[in-house]
Chain length 382, copies 2
């Protein structure tokens, strides 16, 4: 029996989402070139440059982004039995308040239907074990720009009624003010009460000045914002949650952090030390409450980490911080495809496989747990 | 025989530096309150608020910053035999071009004299081994704002003639444009040729917007900029050096990174993956040279890491990335003192001791190497 391999970090732009983006004329939007080549996704304001012909603006989104058959072929090529698909950034952050609820429902229903269709096709025999069939589950998207938090709460509750939904994916802006915004408390409460996993994922990065301004950024393409900006965005977001006491008020919140926590496992000790030395906090004589729970406790109780960190150094830190039983394999598909042949093995995937085997193969069943067992248990995949 | 313990991350504002800051009227400057309390250091523009009385502006710098006797007492209390002292940030980055050289020479001579005085007092018998005597060495400061790079080069060469200088400390701004500035090549060349270790240390952090703006920053005091901004600044700086090919042009450069590399060990795999997927680089068909050497090779060949990371998770990543023989104990004294009794043991120091022992005690002589053996070998302390 081959090992069960579950990919919990794998993105889609489902048909309903593409349809929504095609109907838009401002960023983000999708434009279909007249010559019939792949649709263009104009995702950043800087992409929407009027001096560039519309047919060449933004980036092409090939079928790997929106055709589930392409993802299934990718899964087969890489030995992945099961994927927990999620909407790619920027999710629904940009929607007008009045349309957020409708689109969230349509897109989440679309995800449910895709999973149901694949699972039925792949599993005519209900007795087939997860690692022998091909299956899909999904993280839903939330209507965070809706006019009232109870609309978000309602969608979280509704997602629990969809058979293949296993939690939600969210960026770091929350209701627009970051994840330490107390207006988010009803959302945290609903996620906790429904025992939904929140997959926290970066999109906004860091200001250009952090990297030396646009000159330095242009010189190195996407390396600085993707390699450093994304992980820091995640780290800042979850640290702000911690500092604002979100994990004190919602001690059973379950958060899966993209890219092995950004840099949280590595910086946890420094964060804890800085908290202990901060005079502003009540515990140190100041007037700001400050966090009650220790960052290491949160890492081992509330946090799950994907294993998308491309090396043993990151995995060692993730393991020391959260424990092997909280680490979950992922690919980040369809991002980071090979620059030449997309039909072969993807180095972005094999690098993570190799790092997991190098780190965990001599540690009992740890490799199997990281590759799939943990995901099946934590997300109740069956 | 007690183990040799060397602190390679420990800062001073030597008398000549305090004198220079006292003579200044713009940030950074030192003001002595009329009531005879500790001098105030006004280090940030935001500290220099005219609505605050001058006597209360900025932060007090007590004697631990400028009196070497206080550092020696701190060393004795924590079992440290030897310290490699360095100027605290912002070093000499702010000096007018015409005065940079003179002040650099005066301050470096001041550091040399302090070390010579202590070493002579602590070691009347030249045959006494390093771990049985009390000794000081120093990293020098560079006149980076000087009008010509050859002035910086001259100071690097002059430092080699001072018996207790063991390299230089530098921030991330270089000549004002970051460390990927090709104008720095003569400096890298001089450091490589003289086999001087460069201690790279953060000061500028990240823009406030990265943390959600001044509101979020005020809420949490110094936690976000110190715990996250500082480490990212270091990571960005060294990644820009890598991307610009500095380690290709100067393959024998030796750089000691503060705070265990910021987040470099954790993010190295992601950096390497992003480089391999960046179409801008020549290796991938683009027109920008891009780095030739692999980040893991640089981490094991050019990089040393201090062990100031406050936990086993960070140390595990540092060890996996650069190797146990490149990790060096440090304290960050006089920063992060206890909020109550500065005369006892400092938790910021004992946290690092505990993490080192927990990580390396079962690994042969690894703990002793990290605590002092590596520093003695790498910096030629005797």
């Amino acid at each position: 029996m081959s090992p069960l391999i579950v990919d919990i970090h794998t993105h889609v732009y489902p048909p309903a989402y593409m349809e929504m983006l095609r109907a838009r004329k401002s960023v983000p939007y999708v434009h279909d070139p007249a010559n019939g080549t792949d649709p263009r996704l104009i995702i950043l304001s800087s992409d929407d440059d009027p001096s560039i012909p519309l047919d060449e603006r933004g980036r092409p989104v090939d079928s790997s982004y929106w055709n589930i058959e392409v993802k299934l072929a990718f899964m087969r090529r890489h030995g992945i039995n099961c994927s927990v698909i999620s909407l790619a950034n920027p999710w629904l952050d940009f929607l007008e308040p009045e349309e957020a609820q409708t689109w969230a429902q349509r897109i989440n229903d679309d995800l449910e239907n895709t999973c149901a269709r694949v699972n039925k096709a792949g599993d005519p025999d209900k007795s087939l074990a997860l690692h022998e069939k091909e299956s899909l589950f999904a993280f839903g998207a939330l209507p965070l720009s809706a006019p009232r938090a109870d609309i978000v709460v309602d969608e979280i509750k509704r997602l629990k009624t969809l058979p293949h939904l296993r939690g939600v994916i969210m960026g770091t802006s929350g209701l627009g003010k970051g994840l330490d915004d107390t207006q988010l408390d009803p959302v945290w409460g609903a996620l906790q009460d429904t025992e939904s996993v929140l997959f926290l994922h970066p999109h906004y990065g860091l200001p250009d000045e952090a990297f030396g301004g646009s000159d330095a950024m242009n010189r190195y393409g996407h390396v600085l914002p993707l390699a450093l900006g994304f992980p820091l965005e995640t780290t800042i977001a979850v640290t702000r949650m911690l500092l604002a006491g979100v994990f004190d008020r919602f001690p059973r919140l379950k958060i899966l952090l993209a890219h092995s926590g950004g840099t949280l496992p590595f910086l946890a000790g420094r964060i804890e030390s800085c908290i202990h030395h901060e005079r502003k906090f009540v515990a140190n004589g100041g007037d700001v409450p400050g966090p009650q729970r220790n960052v290491w406790d949160v890492l081992k109780t509330n946090i799950y980490l994907d294993a998308v960190v491309y090396g043993t150094a990151g995995l060692q830190a993730a393991m020391a911080a959260s424990g092997t039983d909280r680490l979950l394999f992922g690919t980040d598909h369809p991002f980071f495809p090979p620059l030449d042949d997309k039909e072969g093995e993807w180095p972005s995937v094999t690098t993570n496989y190799k790092a997991i085997h190098a780190t965990f193969d001599n540690d009992g069943g740890a490799a199997a747990a990281v590759l799939g067992g943990n995901a099946a248990r934590i997300l109740d995949l069956n």
